[in-house]
C-alpha cells in the first residue's frame, strides 16, 4: 500500500467549513491535507469549485487557499480510522487505497438532505432540492423543464432562483412553514413562492410527466411537471464521527465545545455536521477549528465572537422552518420507507424499536446503510439511529483487503 504521509492537520470534507479550516491551519504554519470524495473541492455550497463562483466570499477563500501550501486529496473517501492517528482512505475513481496520518483531525463532512416520505416519492424525477441543484451544476440540462420545488428551508428560494438562471420553468415553490415566519424570503423568488403549502402525493402518468397533488392553504391543487424537488432541510453526515468514537447527539449532530473540539481528543468538527446551518456559519466554525487545532490562540480570539454572532443569526433563521405535523403523516401503508430494500410503512408499524425492525424487515440494511431511512424512522417512530459499522461507506473488497496490508 502507498504512502502513509503525516500531516499536522488533516481536514475531511472540502466544503466551506473544511476550506476555511484548512486555510487557517496552513496560515498558522501547519502542514495540512484536505480529503474529499468529490473530484473538485467546494462541498455543497461551492460545488464544482471556488473558481466557478463570482462572489466576493468565494474569491476571498480561493485567494487564501492559493496563497498557502495545502495538499488536496480529491476523489478520496475516508472510510474509517485505520489506527488511532491514521485514516483509511479509498479512491473513488480507482481501486487505490492509502492511509493518511494526522496530528489533529477536523471533520467537515457536511450534511445530506432530509427526505420525508409521501406517496410517490420514489418515482424517478422526484429528487431532493439541493440534489436537483447539484445535478444541474453537474450538467443536467433543465432548460425549459417544468419544475416544482417543495419542502422546507432557506434552500428552497436559493435553488429556485438558481434553477431559473439555468432556464428552468419553476412553476411553484411550496414552503410548508407559515407565512408569518418566513415571509421575507418570498420576495426574492416572486409569485411562485407559496407558504403553508406542501406536497401530499405524486403520481406518474408515464412519458415523464408527474402529477403533483399539493395542499395549499386548505385547498388541494394538482400541478403537472417534469421534475419535483422536495426536501425538508438537512441531516448531518456524522457516520465517520461515530466510527471514530466522537459523541454524536440523538439528532445526529456532533457534540462540540467552544473551540469546535469533539469528545475525542484532537478531533474537531465544523459546519453543517455540528448542526449549525448555512455556509457562513460553516466558514466561521472552520476558522475557529483551524486556529484551535494549530494552537494559534492569537488568531483564534477574534473569530470566536464572530462565529457566535453568525451562529445566532442562522439559528434564528432556521427556527422558522419547524416542520408541521401533517408532513409526518403523508406516508400510507404501501409507501416505501427504506428505498434500498423496499420496506413499506405498513410492515414497520408493529415494531417497537429500530433494531428489531431492521433485523426482521431489512429496513436500513441496504447499501445506503440507513442514511436515507434512518432520519425518517427517527422522526416517524422515534427510533434511535442504528449503529455505524465499518466501512463508513461502501468500499470494494479489493480496497478492504489492501487497507489491511501494511
Amino acid at each position: 500500500m502507498s504512502n502513509d504521509t503525516r500531516y499536522e492537520v488533516v481536514v475531511v470534507g472540502a466544503g466551506p467549513g473544511g476550506i476555511a479550516a484548512a486555510c487557517c491551519a496552513a496560515e498558522s504554519g501547519k502542514s495540512v491535507a484536505v480529503i474529499d470524495e468529490n473530484a473538485v473541492a467546494g462541498g455543497q455550497f461551492w460545488r464544482g469549485g471556488l473558481s466557478q463562483y463570482g462572489t466576493r466570499q468565494a474569491s476571498q477563500w480561493l485567494k487564501r487557499s492559493q496563497a498557502v501550501s495545502i495538499d488536496w486529496l480529491e476523489n478520496a473517501r475516508v472510510v474509517a480510522l485505520r489506527s488511532p492517528d491514521t485514516l483509511a482512505v479509498c479512491r473513488t475513481d480507482s481501486e487505490d487505497v492509502r492511509t493518511v496520518r494526522f496530528g489533529r483531525l477536523i471533520l467537515a463532512t457536511g450534511a445530506r438532505e432530509l427526505f420525508l416520505p409521501f406517496p410517490g416519492w420514489t418515482i424517478p424525477g422526484v429528487t431532493g432540492v439541493g440534489a436537483l441543484q447539484a445535478l444541474t451544476k453537474s450538467g443536467l440540462d433543465i432548460h425549459g423543464k417544468r419544475v416544482v420545488i417543495a419542502g422546507s428551508g432557506p434552500l428552497l428560494p436559493v435553488v429556485a432562483l438558481n434553477l431559473k438562471q439555468y432556464g428552468a420553468d419553476v412553476l411553484l415553490v411550496a414552503e410548508q412553514a407559515p407565512e408569518d415566519r418566513v415571509g421575507r424570503f418570498a420576495a426574492s423568488v416572486g409569485e411562485q413562492y407559496s407558504t403553508d403549502t406542501w406536497v401530499e402525493r405524486v403520481s406518474s402518468n408515464g412519458d415523464g410527466e408527474l402529477a403533483v397533488d399539493i395542499r395549499q392553504s386548505g385547498d388541494s391543487i394538482r400541478v403537472q411537471c417534469e421534475l419535483l424537488a422536495c426536501a425538508y432541510g438537512l441531516v448531518p453526515n456524522s457516520e465517520l464521527a461515530s466510527l471514530i468514537g466522537c459523541r454524536v447527539r440523538p439528532d445526529a449532530t456532533i457534540e462540540v465545545d467552544a473551540q469546535q473540539s469533539t469528545s475525542s481528543a484532537g478531533v474537531y468538527a465544523v459546519g453543517e455536521v455540528t448542526g449549525v446551518g448555512g455556509a457562513n456559519a460553516a466558514i466561521m466554525e472552520g476558522q475557529v477549528a483551524g486556529y484551535a487545532a494549530s494552537g494559534n490562540t492569537e488568531a483564534l480570539e477574534p473569530v470566536l465572537a464572530q462565529r457566535d454572532r453568525v451562529r445566532e443569526i442562522t439559528e434564528r433563521t432556521y427556527a422558522a422552518y419547524a416542520l408541521r405535523e401533517e408532513i409526518f403523516r403523508l406516508a400510507e401503508d404501501d409507501t416505501i420507507i427504506c428505498r434500498c430494500e423496499d420496506v413499506a410503512l405498513g410492515s414497520l408499524l408493529s415494531f417497537a424499536a429500530g433494531r428489531t425492525a431492521k433485523l426482521q424487515t431489512r429496513c436500513g440494511m441496504g447499501p445506503c446503510q440507513g442514511r436515507i431511512c434512518g432520519p425518517i424512522t427517527t422522526r416517524l417512530f422515534g427510533w434511535s439511529s442504528g449503529s455505524v459499522r465499518l466501512p463508513g461507506s461502501p468500499v470494494s473488497l479489493g480496497q478492504l483487503a489492501a487497507l489491511g496490508d501494511r
Binding site: E37, T92, G125, G128, A134, S138, G139, G366, S393
Partner: protein
C-alpha cells in the same frame, strides 16, 4: 457549459458530453429516467445528487452498482442503465 468534447455510450448509443458532466446528468440528458430497478422491481432514479442514497446506481465500464451522481464522464465510457 464547456465544449462537448467527450463521447460516451449510454445503453449502446453514443452521446457527446462535456468533461464536467456527471454520469447521472448525462443519463438524464439522454432522456432516460429509470436508472435502475429496486429490489422489488420498481423504477428508480437519482434522489440525493450527492452519493448518499445509492438510487442512481448504474453499470459503468463493466462495473455494477456505480453511483452515477459521483462519477464524472470520461472519454469512451460505457454506461448501462437498468442492469442487476
Amino acid at each position: 457549459m464547456g465544449n462537448d468534447d467527450l463521447s460516451v455510450t449510454i445503453n449502446g448509443t453514443g452521446f457527446a458530453v462535456s468533461p464536467t458532466t456527471s454520469v447521472a446528468a448525462a443519463i438524464q440528458n439522454a432522456g432516460i429516467t429509470q436508472f435502475r430497478r429496486s429490489v422489488s422491481g420498481s423504477s428508480r432514479g437519482p434522489l440525493c445528487g450527492m452519493g448518499a442514497c445509492f438510487e442512481c446506481r448504474v453499470m459503468i465500464d463493466g462495473l455494477a452498482h456505480r453511483r452515477s451522481c459521483l462519477t464524472l464522464c470520461r472519454d469512451g465510457m460505457e454506461i448501462l442503465t437498468d442492469v442487476e
